[in-house]
Amino acid sequence: MKHDHNTPQSDPVATPSSRRGFLGVAAVGMAGILLAPGVRLFEIAQAAPAVGGASSKVRWGMLIDSGKCASGCTDCVKACNTENGLSGGTLPTDSQWIRKLDIKDTHTGAIQSLPMMCQHCAEPPCVDVCPTGASFKRADGIVLVDKHICIGCRYCIMACPYKARSFVHEPLTHQKPDVPRGMGTAEACTLCVHRVDRGEQPACVNACADAGHGAIIFGNLNDPESEISKRVASYPSRQIRENLNLNTGVRYLGI
């Protein structure tokens, strides 16, 4: 295209200085618009009062005495189902957060029974493999699923060495307000985190104690004065699949 210098321009093009001025005002305006919501958010964040919260000074754990666990008893399982709003069904697609294992030694014929649930490992494989970070370990050692960001890929269910996790295969209604559960997400024993945060014990522990069996103790493994710490210090307790070095929060006597 040839520029014809003799032809007067009909529309005056904006001069460079006024263009710069416009851009400057626009930039300031944009900055203001972009920053303003952040300033408000900052206000909101500051407004939320911090009330304690989970701390790594505490490590919640359980000690289960397989010797005190009877082979037909399912008190802990029923209590968990009631507390957490689980259906209690045992179809292949039903969620089970705790189950009774019946174990038989094939060489000697000896049998025993114990409850199995999420072991709340200190080095959880489920946390390692979760692509979004939904599977996480709280500061006090409780391993949970953040269902707000769980995408339902089921990698954690594949990776758990204890088969502790379940996948919700169907739409749910009438969940317990303390225990949100939903379709398409992974879930497992939460160590009754909603009760623990209120200073209570998990439902399974209570049920076993109330029924008089006393096979499960719950407590703070980091507190040397707690009953659980004293017991694990005095008696040789073990973890299931110890060779994986996961440092589980749930320990067993008699295995």
């Binding site: 939320a48 911090a50 996480f136 953040d146 707000h148 739409p171 009438h174 317990k176 307000p177 945060d197």
Partner: protein
């Protein structure tokens, strides 16, 4: 029309809530779930206990209920109640979880 809540006063001003309830929900949930910080002021259960409809006992079950009324109008789907109970604790205790 949005149904009136049961309790007297909301934890924040209505104007504030209209603009920011989604931000509160997004950030408080991490505090509660990941950090274990549970407050009476910003508890979802407390919101539901106040705002549940007198007729359906829910915030979400019918079009006129508290959450649903606005969200229907602005056509923003609510994801919360796929997992969270949409009724106050006392009501749920009387029902069983239906898979």
């Amino acid at each position: 029309m949005i149904e009136k809540a049961r309790g007297g006063q909301c934890v924040e001003e209505p104007a504030f809530m209209r603009r920011n309830h989604m931000k509160l929900l997004m950030h408080q949930r991490d505090d509660t779930l990941r950090r274990g910080i549970r407050t009476d002021k910003y508890s979802l259960k407390a919101c539901i206990a106040c705002h549940a409809s007198q007729t359906s006992q829910s915030v979400n079950a019918e079009p006129g209920n508290f959450c649903q009324s606005c969200h229907n109008y602005v056509a923003v789907k609510i994801d919360c109640f796929q997992c969270h109970a949409n009724q106050p604790a006392g009501i749920v205790a009387q029902q069983q979880v239906k898979p």
